[in-house]
Symmetry: D2
Subunit: 304 residues, 4 copies
């Protein structure tokens, strides 16, 4: 006997989160502009809604997982948007990645309508969404978060209250900026070490054990580049987008970020060379190409 | 009843390693140009030698921990150097950080004299040296390493055979390049996040749990910048040196490393502003200064 | 028997331009929020107006020279702004530096009121304003420009029609981005050459004659850094502002600009170190400081 | 009745310089490892020599124009080298581009043999060599230069004594570093301006007249990129080599050069993408490609 929930956005992330909520016994109304994605969830017990407004009509909690800040803003405050029907006291949780400014504007619009708003972007990707082990970074009122925590706990294993409105997004952009830099650094360093004659797996082992270690090296690469698996977990063009949202934020605050700027430029160059749709670890393949070499001998790559 | 060992270099790292070897029951002859450092070890049971040649005379194993590649080369192959007295079959282990080219030249000189050589630079700093938990990256012959492993196990908890001569140094430079980039990235990102209104400790917690996590963030910063502790564990000017050795190596191989280049330039700028003698985490203080802000409110800094 | 002109903004640039227009026999109504600046011009024959609206009431041509895009927008379209009183057929010429987007928005607002608008930012600074030798880069309708050309010819010796609305600003930002890069490049290269033992004046002479020559080297430096003259012609913080407007424009178009990004970051670092109010050639002094040296021996600096 | 000269290196530059010296009436002995190049000059009146030593045997002046510092060193000081036969009092002039260190080593070797040495690298490329309008940057003794000036005047219209041994090379590297930066800056800025809707020729005109102007913009681009002419005047891979010699020099002096570092990295990336053999203005085509656009509409390119 769970809560009455609305979920808007049934893509890679939203679809998986919706399934977990259904499996946990919640009543779920789902909306997406792609009818096929909605019908797949209806087959598993969800109800379909024709618009965000319709989805939000009787919901206690409205959750969003959408591709861009502009869409988030339209889905909440636009025509046929959530605020057309949401009752005072409803809570809207945006689990998309957006810039802090958008989060603050949307929060103000909700507040004016008596609706609670939390920005709650996530980390750990598709696997985390599937297994309910997302890291959820929450900006907004602490009491509102406590009330929503039972539902969020179905989706994430780590739920951190970062601060006021927009601060969840700040933390998310900071995290992704670091991940992008760490990944590119590994591309440059692994190519240099392997070109100097060191075996990739041995080098990766040393670096994992050393002071140069990182989550990206220990967790992302063994399942992607090191395994010769080119499947996209988090697309380079999405990382590119987040990195430039970070840059915008740093710029507006007048801050010097030379390393972040270089990473942002390099991601854009890789995108210009066609790496956009690939996993963001493909920045490593970009440096392989520039060096005219392969980190993994072909045979190993084939075995994988 | 340990081996007859010679240890050349009794500084921050070498002194601590020597003490561990003495405590483990080895007979140790020590040399350093600074007599006081030698005498401190003599008080704990070591024998003093007036030159590298004298130290190496009857040693089965000669270990070096020295500040620069040029000194390593002189101590081994120079006048009054190790090779003047070392018997064929002796093993020389250089635990200093040097460039791969120097390691290969020195190895060739040793080989010509029938002496074994391993390049074996370390990670995890002074604390690792004190507790015998160093990460040791070894380049050279695998059998020579196996023979020396019992002694090295007194100094390090992780001993990795990276490959042929010089490859220990390659791995070390790769590791330090990554650590330097990760540290600067944290400086830029933490300043940006805190300036946007997020609490430093909360932000650090999120990033540690997220895909942007790194060894530097989890292990180095909590004991230094986050604690308001400005003690130098590994000086920025030493990191600067290693980073430029990495850059030289990448340059000679004709590789593109835009992120590493930016980090190398920024470290040099920080050095130009006087941060050289401070811990390399002071790059974070450099970005605080450029932003005209402090990550920790004063009160917290005072408490720490 | 000149035209009836309004001039809004009586600062360093606007004041000098107003004086030239008065000297050429035009009837000039002047407005500035700083009454003293206005009164100085009244003493030379101008009429004072209490607001932009009042200034524009009977003008055929309204010229603006203002510090920021936001002020330009308010002066034209805001309360008591130019559009409150300007008659259809009037022409507004904005000689401030702004982003192309602002120029296009303002142009649309003017057009809706039947008012012509030209964006017409300038190059060659205070000296050009004083001598009427400005380079004027004009965006907007070609016929409107032709009608205004007699007046603009009093101010500039080179008046170029760049293209449609906003394109004057595009050209201006491109120009200043180049000038900023050329200047920083000179800082890095001159310090490197002089540190290697070459005399500054000889080196500058060679570079001026060579393929590395630039306007900045031939015209700006001889009157500033090479002469030991630290007077501010164009402040580093203004160059910083223009460079970031350029970066914003490149970013929005999805373009890779690694060199421009590095220059933008370095200018920001120099600003963080306090160089903002100085002439933008002070980026050279910043590199002198980082290198711990002076390009000019003290004696020469004193003589200058 | 000219001097007895030896010329070693009959490539693009050396061949053209030799022709001018022959035309001016000098007796010229020529050597190159490529016999065909030598024979072409013999057909115009030169004598052939089988080795540098043979060429230098009776020469008063030995001029070199060679591709790398290593070859310069071998040709002068190696087996069958110039110093095997050169009489005391002979003057050797190296017009190749090399690093200052090589120039100083070679000068010392010459001095020990009683032979004068000038490093005299040139600017203004193939056209300058053909027309005798090279800029010649000379390091070494002023009196030696004065004695050689009549011959050098046949080759260059501007001959500058920069300072002591090696300083000609310092000036040359500084010049080329600037030219490389100016060129890349133009690539980034022109692409940004044209993408924003400004016509290339108009934009280039404005920038040429403005404070962002440079030799590269006024002289190199009109004959290459703007004309759709892809002929190689100075190959990108040669510029790449010079830029990294500059970087090495700055590194060894401990200097911060963030902009030069970025340009060096970008040139290397362009080289990695196959632009090495093209004219160095192809860095502009590289940015076109990254942006997915062309500066010149096809039709204009065809006309050109």
């Amino acid at each position: 006997m769970g809560s009455r929930l609305a979920f808007i956005g049934a893509g890679k992330m939203g679809g998986r989160m919706s399934r977990r909520l259904l499996a946990a016994g919640h009543r779920l109304v789902v909306h997406d502009t792609d009818r096929q994605l909605v019908e797949a969830l209806v087959a598993e017990g969800a109800l379909a809604a024709g618009s965000p407004a319709e989805a939000a009509r009787d919901a206690e909690l409205v959750i969003l997982s959408l591709p861009t800040p502009a869409i988030v803003e339209a889905v909440i405050a636009g025509e046929d948007g959530v605020l057309q029907t949401a009752q005072p006291g409803t809570t809207v949780i945006d689990m998309s990645t957006a810039d802090p400014g958008t989060a603050q504007r949307v929060e103000a619009a909700c507040r004016a309508a008596g609706v609670n708003f939390l920005d709650a972007p996530v980390s750990r990707g598709v696997a985390g969404a599937e297994q309910g082990t997302l890291l959820i970074m929450v900006g907004g009122d602490a009491e509102v978060l406590e009330a929503a925590r039972p539902v969020l706990s179905v989706l994430g294993s780590e739920i951190i209250h970062v601060g006021g409105p927009g601060s969840g997004q700040v933390a998310k952009l900071c995290n992704n900026m670091l991940a992008a830099i760490n990944m590119q650094a590994l591309g440059e360093v692994l190519v240099t070490g392997v070109k100097a004659g060191v075996d990739l797996r041995v080098l990766a082992g040393v670096l994992t054990a050393g002071t140069g270690g990182s989550w990206v090296l220990s967790n992302h690469l063994p399942a992607t580049v090191f395994a010769g698996d080119e499947g996209t977990r988090f697309a380079l063009e999405l990382m590119h987008k987040d990195v430039w949202l970070f840059m915008r934020s740093a710029e507006e605050q007048g801050l010097s970020t030379p390393l972040a700027a270089t990473a942002a430029q390099t991601l854009r160059m890789a995108k210009g060379e066609g790496y956009g749709p690939r996993d963001y670890s493909a920045i490593i393949n970009y440096f392989e190409r520039l060096a005219g070499m392969r980190l993994l001998p072909n045979k190993v790559a084939e075995e994988a």
